[in-house]
C-alpha cells in the first residue's frame, strides 16, 4: 500500500509541476497541452475498456463526437452552455455519451476480441455517417463553428485560463477513474479481463459489469467531447472519424494499457510528435511510426511498463549471478 501511495504522490507532484510550468511556456505549447489533455481524458476513458476490462474498442470517437456535437449545437442554436450553465452542459454531455454507450453496448458487449473490435468500429462509423450526412443538424462536411467560449467569471478566451479549466476537468476525471478502478467493481473488471469464465463461476454477472464499464467509458468520452468543442472551436465529421478512435487506441497502447496515466503519456507524445514536431521537420511521420513500431515490438506493456522491465531485468540479473534459474514469468501488475 505504501508503494501505491508513493505512486499517487509522484503523479500528484508531476501534475502540480505541469500546472505550474505549462502556463509559463509559449502560447503554442499551452494550446497543444490543452488539446493533449482533452485527448488524455478520451484515452483514459478508453483505457477503462482496453486496459481494465480487456475490451479493445475502435468506436470511442463516437461518444467523443456526440459530446462535441451536443455542445456545439446547444451553443450555436440555443445559446445554452455559454454561461454558468456550461457545467450543466458538461454533465449532460457526459449523460449523452453514456446514453449512446448504453445503446451501443447492447449490441457490442455480446462480442469479445476481434468481433468486439469490429462491432464498435461499425457503430462508431454510424455516428460518423450521421454527422456527415445529416447536414441540417450537423452542418455536414463543413461542421459547426463554436466561436464563443463559455464565460462565468473567468476569461476563457485566454488560452492560459482555459488550460486550467481543462486541467481541472482532467484531474477530476483522473481521480474519479482511479477511484473506480481501485473499487471492488474495478477489481471485478480486472478479473473479467484475466479470466471471464472464472468470474462467471464465482457468480459475477460479467455481462452487466462489462456493460456498466462500457457506459462509464462512454460518459467520459462524452465529457472529452464537450471540452473539445470549446478547445478546438470547430466540430466536424473529422472529429468523429475512425482515425480519432484509432488515435485514442494508439495513445493507450503507447503509454501502457491498464494504467490510466499511460493514456495521458500517450496523448502527450502523440500530440507532441504530430502537432509540434510536424512544425519543425517534414519527416515527423517516420518518427511517429517508428515510436509505434518500437513500442509494440519491445514494450508490449507500453511506456509505463519501462520501470517494471528494468526491475525485472535487474532481478533476473541478480538471480543469474547467484544461481542459474529459468526465465522469470512476467510479473502481473
Amino acid at each position: 500500500m505504501s508503494k501505491q501511495n508513493l505512486k499517487i504522490i509522484s503523479v500528484a507532484i508531476i501534475l502540480a509541476a505541469l500546472a505550474y510550468i505549462i502556463p509559463h511556456s509559449t502560447s503554442f505549447v499551452v494550446l497543444l497541452a490543452t488539446r493533449a489533455l482533452v485527448f488524455a481524458i478520451l484515452a483514459m476513458s478508453l483505457d477503462i475498456l482496453l486496459g481494465f476490462t480487456g475490451l479493445a474498442s475502435l468506436g470511442q470517437a463516437a461518444y467523443f463526437g456526440v459530446g462535441a456535437y451536443f455542445t456545439a449545437i446547444l451553443a450555436t442554436r440555443y445559446h445554452i452552455g455559454l454561461g454558468w450553465d456550461f457545467w450543466l452542459v458538461a454533465l449532460m454531455g457526459m449523460m449523452v455519451g453514456a446514453l449512446l454507450a448504453a445503446f451501443f453496448g447492447l449490441f457490442a458487449i455480446r462480442a469479445t476480441g476481434v468481433y468486439f473490435l469490429m462491432i464498435t468500429l461499425a457503430l462508431g462509423q454510424c455516428v460518423w455517417g450521421l454527422a456527415y450526412r445529416w447536414s441540417s443538424l450537423t452542418g455536414g462536411d463543413n461542421g459547426i463553428n463554436v466561436s464563443t467560449r463559455p464565460s462565468f467569471g473567468l476569461d476563457l478566451t485566454n488560452e492560459r485560463t482555459f488550460f486550467f479549466l481543462v486541467f481541472a476537468f482532467f484531474v477530476a476525471s483522473l481521480i474519479l477513474l482511479y477511484v473506480l478502478v481501485q473499487s471492488p467493481f474495478g477489481r471485478s473488471l480486472a478479473g473479467i479481463r484475466e479470466r471471464e469464465l472464472r468470474m462467471q463461476i464465482l457468480g459475477y454477472n460479467t455481462w452487466l459489469h462489462k456493460y456498466v464499464a462500457f457506459i462509464i467509458a462512454g460518459a467520459f468520452g462524452g465529457l472529452a467531447g464537450v471540452l473539445w468543442a470549446h478547445t478546438n472551436g470547430l466540430v466536424s465529421p473529422e472529429t468523429v472519424v475512425l482515425t480519432t478512435s484509432v488515435d485514442a487506441l494508439l495513445m493507450v497502447v503507447l503509454g501502457g494499457a491498464g494504467t490510466l496515466i499511460g493514456g495521458v503519456i500517450g496523448s502527450v507524445i502523440v500530440f507532441g510528435l504530430r502537432e509540434y514536431l510536424s512544425t519543425l521537420v517534414p519527416w515527423w511521420q517516420y518518427v511517429l511510426g517508428g515510436v509505434y513500431v518500437l513500442t509494440i515490438l519491445y514494450l508490449p506493456t507500453g511506456l509505463m511498463g519501462i520501470p517494471a522491465r528494468i526491475r525485472q531485468a535487474r532481478a533476473s540479473y541478480d538471480r543469474t549471478s547467484k544461481t542459474v534459474t529459468k526465465k522469470l514469468a512476467p510479473t502481473a501488475s
Partner: protein, 417 residues
C-alpha cells in the same frame, strides 16, 4: 584598469543595443506569411501544387513581395480541419506571421475563418470556396479575404451556357457534400431560371470509385449530364459512363476536369465541357509564360490550385507596394486589396465583398499541341468567356442573398419525378 573595464562594458552594451536595433530594423522589413496546406495524407499532392504556385512567384521576384523580404512558413494541415486550426494558431502565436493563407477543402475554410477573428489576423483563402464565407457570413469574418472563388461562381456561368446550347433536360450527378451542393445549386438555379429543367439529382458519396449503382439510374430522356466530381472520382466517372455506352454530353464543375486530374485522363473525356476561372490553355502571353515557367520547374502543367496561389502572391505583392513597402495591418491591407484591379494569369480581377470578380471560362477538353510543346496532350480549350462574373451572378447582391445557401434541397428539384 577600472575605467578601461567600464569603457569596454559600455562599448559592449552599446554594440549590443546597436546590434539589437539593427536586428529589429531588419525584422521590420520582413513580411512573415503563414501557409497552411495538406503536405501529408491523401491531399498531399494538391498541397504541393498550392505551395509550388506561391513559391514560383517568390522565386521569380527574388523572394520579395512589394519590396519586403518574405519569410514563408509552410505548415502541414494533414488534410484535417482540426489540425489546420492548431497550425494556424501556431503560425500566429509562435511565428508571429502578419497574415496566413491556404487551406484546401471548404471545411478548412470554415475552420480557419474563426481563427482569423480570434487572432485579428488576415486570412487569405486562395482555394477554399465555401460560398457563405463571402456571402451570408461576410460581416461575421471581417479578416477573411478570398483570392480564389466561390463554389457557385463558375457553375452559374455554365448553367447559362448549357441553356444557350439548347439543352432542355439535364441530370445532375454531384459529390455529396457542401462543395457539391453549392456547385450543383449554382448550375441548377441559373439553368432553370433560363428555362431548363434539372430532372434528376444523384448524390454519390465523396470518394465513390464505382459508379455502377448510379449510371444505370440516369434518366434516358436527358439532353446532357451535369457532373461534379472531386479527386479520384473525376477519373472514374467519365470512364465508367462511356464504358456503359452512355454518349450524352457531359458538362461539369471545374474540379471534374481541372489540370490536376486532366493528365491522368483517357481520350474518352475529349469533348467534355466544364467551367472554372482558370484554364492552363488560356491563350494570353501572361498565362503562356506562367505555364512554361511552372512546367519547366515542377514538371507538370499548373492546376488552378497553383494559379490561385501564384496570383495570391501577385496580389500581396501589389498591395504591399501600394502600402508603401510595409504591412499596414489587417484592416488597412484588406481595404487596399479590395480596391485592386489587376491583370492576373487567369485574366482581369477586381474585388467585390472580399471575393474576386473575374472571368469564368467555359472549357472543352481537346487533344492538341499547345505553347510549342511537341506532344499532343489534353487541354481545357476555352470556348467561351463570361467576363467580370460576380459571386452573385447577374442577380444582384440584395436579391441573391435573400435565397438560402445552395444545399441538397435548394434549389428544390421541381422537375424530378
Amino acid at each position: 584598469m577600472a575605467t578601461r573595464k567600464q569603457t569596454l562594458t559600455s562599448v559592449l552594451i552599446g554594440g549590443l543595443v546597436l546590434g539589437l536595433g539593427v536586428n529589429a530594423q531588419a525584422k521590420a522589413e520582413e513580411l512573415r506569411i503563414g501557409f497552411i496546406a495538406p503536405m501529408t495524407g491523401i491531399f498531399a499532392q494538391i498541397g504541393k501544387d498550392m505551395v509550388n504556385g506561391f513559391q514560383l512567384y517568390l522565386d521569380q521576384h527574388g523572394n520579395k513581395l512589394g519590396g519586403m523580404d518574405v519569410k514563408l512558413v509552410v505548415e502541414d494541415s494533414q488534410g484535417k480541419p482540426d489540425t489546420a486550426v492548431t497550425k494556424a494558431k501556431k503560425l500566429v502565436l509562435q511565428d508571429k506571421v502578419h497574415l496566413f493563407m491556404g487551406g484546401l477543402l471548404a471545411s478548412t475554410g470554415y475552420a480557419l475563418a474563426p481563427v482569423s477573428n480570434e487572432e485579428r489576423t488576415l486570412y487569405i483563402s486562395p482555394v477554399p470556396a465555401a460560398d457563405d464565407l463571402t456571402q451570408r457570413q461576410l460581416s461575421k469574418y471581417p479578416y477573411f479575404f478570398r483570392t480564389g472563388w466561390t463554389s457557385s461562381q463558375p457553375t452559374h456561368a455554365i448553367g447559362q451556357w448549357a441553356c444557350e446550347q439548347g439543352y432542355k433536360k439535364v441530370v445532375s450527378i454531384a459529390a455529396d457534400y457542401a462543395f457539391g451542393y453549392e456547385q450543383q445549386g449554382g448550375f441548377q438555379k441559373v439553368f432553370e431560371d433560363c428555362g431548363g429543367k434539372v430532372i434528376q439529382k444523384i448524390w454519390p458519396p465523396i470518394g465513390t470509385k464505382d459508379f455502377g449503382p448510379y449510371i444505370p439510374s440516369i434518366k434516358a430522356d436527358a439532353d446532357a449530364i451535369f457532373s461534379l466530381m472531386v479527386g479520384p472520382m473525376s477519373l472514374q466517372f467519365p470512364k465508367q459512363l462511356r464504358a456503359s455506352g452512355n454518349k450524352k454530353p457531359i458538362i461539369g464543375g471545374g474540379t471534374s476536369y481541372d489540370e490536376f486530374v486532366l493528365p491522368f485522363m483517357g481520350d474518352e473525356v475529349i469533348g467534355d465541357v466544364s467551367s472554372l476561372m482558370y484554364s492552363a490553355a488560356i491563350e494570353t502571353p501572361k498565362n503562356e509564360a506562367f505555364v512554361k515557367a511552372y512546367r519547366s520547374k515542377y514538371g507538370k502543367v499548373p492546376s488552378y490550385y497553383s494559379e490561385s496561389d501564384y496570383t495570391t502572391a501577385e496580389i500581396i505583392d501589389i498591395a504591399i507596394k501600394q502600402a508603401g513597402g510595409k504591412y499596414p495591418g489587417a484592416e488597412k491591407f484588406i481595404d487596399i486589396m479590395s480596391g485592386l484591379k489587376l491583370d492576373a494569369v487567369r485574366g482581369p480581377i477586381s474585388f467585390e465583398d472580399r471575393n474576386p470578380v473575374q472571368n469564368i471560362y467555359i472549357k472543352k477538353v481537346e487533344k492538341k499541341k499547345m505553347f510549342g510543346y511537341d506532344k499532343a496532350e489534353l487541354w481545357n480549350t476555352v470556348i467561351k468567356t463570361y467576363p467580370h462574373v460576380s459571386q452573385y451572378w447577374t442577380y444582384g447582391k440584395e436579391k441573391f442573398l435573400k435565397q438560402p445557401v445552395y444545399s441538397k434541397d435548394f434549389p428544390p428539384c421541381k422537375y424530378c419525378e
